[in-house]
Symmetry: C2
Subunit: 512 residues, 2 copies
């Protein structure tokens, strides 16, 4: 059947996997029964285990669901060791349910699939060799992609039940109190991992830094932890964060950033107490810089900045331009350090950040969100999952989550090299177009026709050329030509869930 954004969702998947097809981005009120873990009662002694093998042998059985977090990003030195151990022990049929997968994990995931150790995956995204392999049919069962908020939702309602969570931390005491802020592998907020710590039946911490008891502040608490494994190195500090903040010098990115700022500051939302999420990447950092100047010029302060946090956002906090930072992950060392030192920077878990099924998430209170796109189409649907070649090379991240902001801006170049970003139909729909308010490209902006208020507000701003999205699409096509239709087989290799758990799209296997 076709769902409400006109995507064909295979009937067998709807039936066999008990899915609903995507209907609406409006998630209505309801009563939801939360689930809870099976807790192994102990006095908290004897949790220290000396090897990964010992803890895997103790806990992991064929067919279980295991999880990891991705706060260590490309510096992660936990995942591969645990996965290799599971392969070596001949464990089979695991469901791998990390908060996301980074490139450093790709080789071992592929190896584990080939060994039959992993037979199911749910993740926020994947890139590189793994995305390529999945797109070419490596895994029998379709991968399930979920946003950060949707992952929290699925865990909290029990549709994803984590048997064992393996959580790398830069410090822990012998009973399992831990945070992300101190130690060689410090990365700041433990936001995504906090859900695993709360809901997994068994929680294993892996650390290279066992500190005196009791370890505080305790983001993960001893009451949640079964074992603490001492390892040589949790992560490579140079690869955990994005390193020193560098503002883009790319004139195209600067132009886009400047226009994004124009859109924000000319909207009704730019007033004292407003809130925003900018995300990471060169253009996002540049937006923050322009926004800072506009806030100073207009004597406007924000109540909170949300999301993945970067040093330029921390600077706004320190300057008094932002009252609070609500921090689900830190993208660089400056942001991580600030969470340690400034109590106005509050660590939040993935549910608080964006679960659509709780009593109110941060994203529900968000005024302005600036998001990226691999592709955006003339219905404003956004793809952040597959390349124009149809291959998986992205992540939902918080895209669907933050897109519910009152003003959602997609910041993207019209074309990338010889590839159009603005297209007639995105390869894969991740975020439905009705949530997107404005597209900003280097040549100008397009406003979603359903936002007549924004069209009014932004139509006469100098330096802000306004086009229809069709005009931008045609302009892109004029430059790079019409792209050939992609060839896919009939086999589904990935399911794209909307944040309420319905199916908004599927990814088919590439035809070779």
């Amino acid at each position: 059947m076709k769902n409400k954004v006109d995507r064909e969702i295979p009937d067998d998947i709807l039936k066999e996997q008990n899915y609903n097809a995507f209907q609406t981005s409006e998630i209505g009120p309801a009563n939801k029964q939360r689930v809870a873990p099976l807790v192994a009662v102990s006095k908290g002694n004897g949790k220290i285990v000396n090897s990964i093998q010992e803890v895997v042998e103790k806990l992991v059985k064929d067919g279980m669901t295991i999880s990891f977090h991705h706060h260590l990003r490309e510096g992660d030195q936990i995942f591969n060791q645990v996965m290799q151990t599971m392969i070596d022990l001949g464990i089979k049929n695991l469901t791998l349910a990390p908060s996301s997968l980074t490139n450093v994990m790709n080789d071992l995931v592929i190896k584990a699939i080939q060994a039959g150790t992993i037979t199911n995956i749910t993740s926020s995204g994947m890139r590189g060799s793994l995305g390529e392999a999945i797109s070419r049919g490596l895994l029998k069962n379709p991968v399930i992609f979920r946003s950060h908020g949707n992952r929290a939702r699925a865990i909290e309602e029990g549709s994803t039940k984590i048997d064992v969570a393996f959580l790398g931390v830069p410090n822990a005491d012998r009973v399992g109190n831990a945070n992300g802020m101190e130690g060689a592998a410090a990365f700041g907020s433990l936001g995504y991992a906090l859900i695993d710590a709360q809901y997994a039946d068994k929680v294993v911490l892996l650390t290279d830094n066992i500190v005196a008891y009791p370890n505080t502040p305790a983001s993960i608490k001893q009451t949640q932890v079964d074992f603490v494994v001492k390892v040589d190195q949790v992560g490579n500090p140079d690869k955990i964060g994005s390193g020193a903040t560098r503002f883009t010098k790319d004139p195209k990115e600067l132009k886009i950033a400047k226009m994004v700022n124009e859109v924000i500051t000319h909207s009704a939302y730019f007033k004292n107490g407003f809130s925003f999420q900018t995300g990471s990447g060169g253009a996002a950092l540049a937006v923050t810089r322009y926004l800072r100047q506009s806030m100073l010029d207009n004597k406007i302060k924000a109540s909170f900045a949300l999301g993945g946090i970067t040093k330029p956002t921390v600077d706004l906090l320190e300057e008094g331009l932002v009252d609070k930072i609500m921090d689900v992950q830190d993208f660089d060392k400056g942001a991580a350090d600030s969470m340690k030192n400034d109590r106005r920077q509050q660590e939040i878990d993935a549910s608080w950040y964006a679960d659509p099924d709780n009593k109110g998430a941060m994203v529900d209170q968000l005024d302005v969100a600036i998001l990226s796109a691999l592709e955006i189409d003339t219905k404003f649907n956004v793809n952040v999952m597959t390349g124009s070649d149809g291959i998986i090379r992205g992540a939902i991240g918080g895209h669907q989550d933050a897109a519910g902001a009152k003003l959602t801006i997609i910041s993207a170049p019209l074309i990338r090299g010889r590839i159009a970003t603005v297209v007639k139909d995105v390869t894969t729909i991740v975020t439905p177009g009705d949530l997107i308010d404005v597209l900003v490209t280097e040549v100008g902006i397009a406003i979603n026709p359903k936002r007549q208020d924004l069209i009014q507000a932004l139509s006469h701003v100098s330096d802000l050329p306004v086009y229809t999205i069709e005009q931008l699409q045609q302009r892109a096509e004029k430059i790079v030509g019409r792209s050939e239709a992609l060839s896919f087989t009939n086999r589904t290799v990935a399911l794209i869930e909307y944040r309420d758990g319905s199916l908004i799209d599927v990814v088919k296997q590439i035809k070779e």
Copy 2:
């Protein structure tokens, strides 16, 4: 049948209420399925409600279980308003399940029982007119008394299911983020209330101080809260804490405190990195003062202080004599202020403090606990619940919980007025004698014979006269005479649970 501490537990209660009789203070490993709340999904807007009546009408139905916390102690101005509203609305058959009841609540509880609004109570304790009324048979169903850790256990396993929690807080934002640290009614740690916020189906905050969104640090989170009610005054600041710290000048108390310190410092536990819980009250404060001097003299530092926290303990933190304070409640303003200002003072919830059925509570790591007693008998069993007249006038509090420490000291006078504290058989057993290591009275100490190591260590300390507990009991009897046996009817008015949920004793109705 008689349980393992020789108390008669009525068979009908064991059967009808599905109780086990107390067997052992050793709580073994097990797997326990946690429960979880039914969450009313919302975007977090529209939570502000203008009157208590409105929210009670919205949420409370006959037969429900409702809860409150007692962090506002005798300054509480929430409980009576909510209870009066429920009586006025004619709500019936509620189970009242607060973390404890303070004297300021007594009149309304009695009124609500008389009105049929309350038909069941579970609490840590009760005193004054309410304890008297219950002991005389006011409530048809027996009250259930539980320690703080046991309450967390019961809520986490679902045997107490809270339908609506009414939680007074000194600040909250419009979406429900709140802490106990700022505002006119600030009281510090929200330790007991955090369990209600996490497990109740509906969570109502009541505050006189609605602050800007987002309110941080958020001890209670917006994801947990359904409604925020604006009230005129949450609490009377003068009555919330015990006020300025005053050390006792009572020579008897000072003598006991000095001997308690001798016991600690001559034990094997007094070494770098030890931990302690002293509690509140004049004698406890004096112990802290003596302990401080011994720590300075011997260059010994503690890893943590636990429990209800007082300013003298905070002073040790500030002096560097204690590394961390693990804080489930604050007894005075100095302690509450410190939690706000010193991140080494970690707020912990009641489960982390003392739930025997989690993956390790703070009390399981505790070296030294100093506890009080209304009565202690020759089997070292302790009563902190009923007076020698058989009337309910106490609270389990954390008594059973902290008594699991490696060195558990009861600090109590031999006699109080004309009443013996050391007796042949306590009126009510709250904490089993096998957990008690040393009794300290003003005339000397008694060591539990099962602790031959302590008898060895303490027998030759000058200024520390050692007696058998029988000798102390006889000495007390010699002074005040033999007390007459109490007269009770056959009707059970209260059940005393051990911290694992088994029945360690019952309280019978007074014979008039």
